[in-house]
Amino acid sequence: MRYILFFLAFISMLVANYMSLMYAPTEKVMGHIQRIFYFHMGTVWAATLAFILVFIASIMYLRKESRKWDIIAYSSAELGVLFITLTIITGSIWAKPVWGTWWTWDPQLTTTFILWVLYIVYLILRSSAGSNVKQARYSAIFAIIAFIDLPIVYASARLKRGISPVVFGPGGGGIAPEMMHTLLVCLVAFTLLFIVLLKERMNILKMKDIINSIKIRRNF
């Protein structure tokens, strides 16, 4: 099972690379730089999945108090930070030639930035909380509050005018079918990558637990 997932993620990543670099047509106005968008969307999608998972796992932890949910929340939060960092980096690379600036305080960017800070604080909180139970409970509480805070951050940031492109929905331009295919493949690839990494990270944490319990048993 593990190797199948690994293999699928690898193949889909290769296909995603090929499609975003070769298959998708070049965007008329922005040119080749637009191709980074497929990976930008992929990472932001994976990060969203990760943070939703952290939120759900945190609620479940507070209800069930089982180590399993804590491990899920922790691994997912780490991956979320990784993916959101990649999102910010790819977004900046795209924004420099298109908007003429690496960074601007547009609502989406502001919210993403605060999201990034919040989950880094989450990781800091984990490392400074002390015992395992405290660590799990405090970080679960923080994750829930942070998740609820985000829509309010977005609502406040939106009171200033925004410039992030709206591609889908009302007011959006829509995209060529080839671009759509590429985007979908990218989303699938990043979802698979996320699942693979999550499982690996969870395995490492579980092994750590086992080693710790052996150490305690043998009085190390």
Partner: protein, 223 residues
């Protein structure tokens, strides 16, 4: 209700007798204003936006000082155990603590506002009431989150150091909207201009007081 008031009364009494937190907060906030004054080289014409930002930075920093003591005080002689062992719903403890923190911080702010007006030569006496109203709303917002995380921070290894890191990213909406509303009031704009900010601020207050009260039970279970 009585139970909540008991906790509030206890905190106010402790503060009244020890006179530890309040004078420190007050002096600290006046010092911050002094530093700002120096930093701006005693300019008399500063934009309303900058002014209300200065005011809120002062409030948040000074308020933080009180918040970090709020539960650290209970840690001395393990008084927190006594509070937790009180046979009441944990929610009441949070609300009691929240109210007492709010009262102390708000009192500090009431003292700071005249100093602020004096230092920066402002002429805002006719709009002082709406500004104080916004100060109340903003303070509720950041004290609600602050009280909650103060209880969490004293139990971490980094203690008080952890508090600003925990609450600053969370209270960004409060600061943003309070500053925006205050500066619009100072500029003499209509209510319609900052109505949406007011809505976000009020909803932040309601949401976080409720959520923190509900989650407080999990926070201090056996800490």
């Amino acid at each position: 209700m009585n139970k909540i008031l008991n906790i509030v009364w206890k905190d106010v009494l402790v503060e009244f007798r020890t006179k530890e937190i309040f004078p420190t907060m007050l002096i600290f906030s006046i010092l911050i204003l002094l530093i700002f004054n120096f930093a701006f080289e005693f300019k008399s014409s500063i934009e309303p936006n900058t002014l209300s930002a200065l005011l809120w930075v002062t409030f948040i920093f000074a308020g933080l000082l009180g918040l970090s003591r709020s539960f650290a005080l209970e840690k001395e002689n393990n008084a927190l155990f006594g509070v937790i062992l009180t046979p009441v719903d944990k929610m009441y403890i949070y609300i009691g603590k929240f109210i007492s923190n709010f009262l102390i911080t708000f009192l500090m702010e009431l003292f700071v506002i005249p100093v602020f007006i004096l230092f920066f030569n402002l002429n805002i006496l006719d709009i002082i009431l709406p500004v104080i109203g916004i100060v109340v709303l903003g303070t509720i917002g950041f004290i609600s989150v602050g009280t909650f995380f103060s209880a969490m921070a004293v139990n971490t290894k980094l203690r008080e150091l952890m508090l600003p890191v925990l609450i600053f990213p969370l209270i960004i909406p409060v600061i943003f909207n309070s500053v925006r509303i205050c500066s619009s009031i100072m500029e003499g704009r209509e209510l319609a201009y900052y109505k949406s900010s007011l809505q976000v601020l009020v909803s932040f207050d309601i949401i976080f007081v409720v959520i923190c009260a509900v989650l407080f039970e999990y926070l201090i279970e056996d800490s």
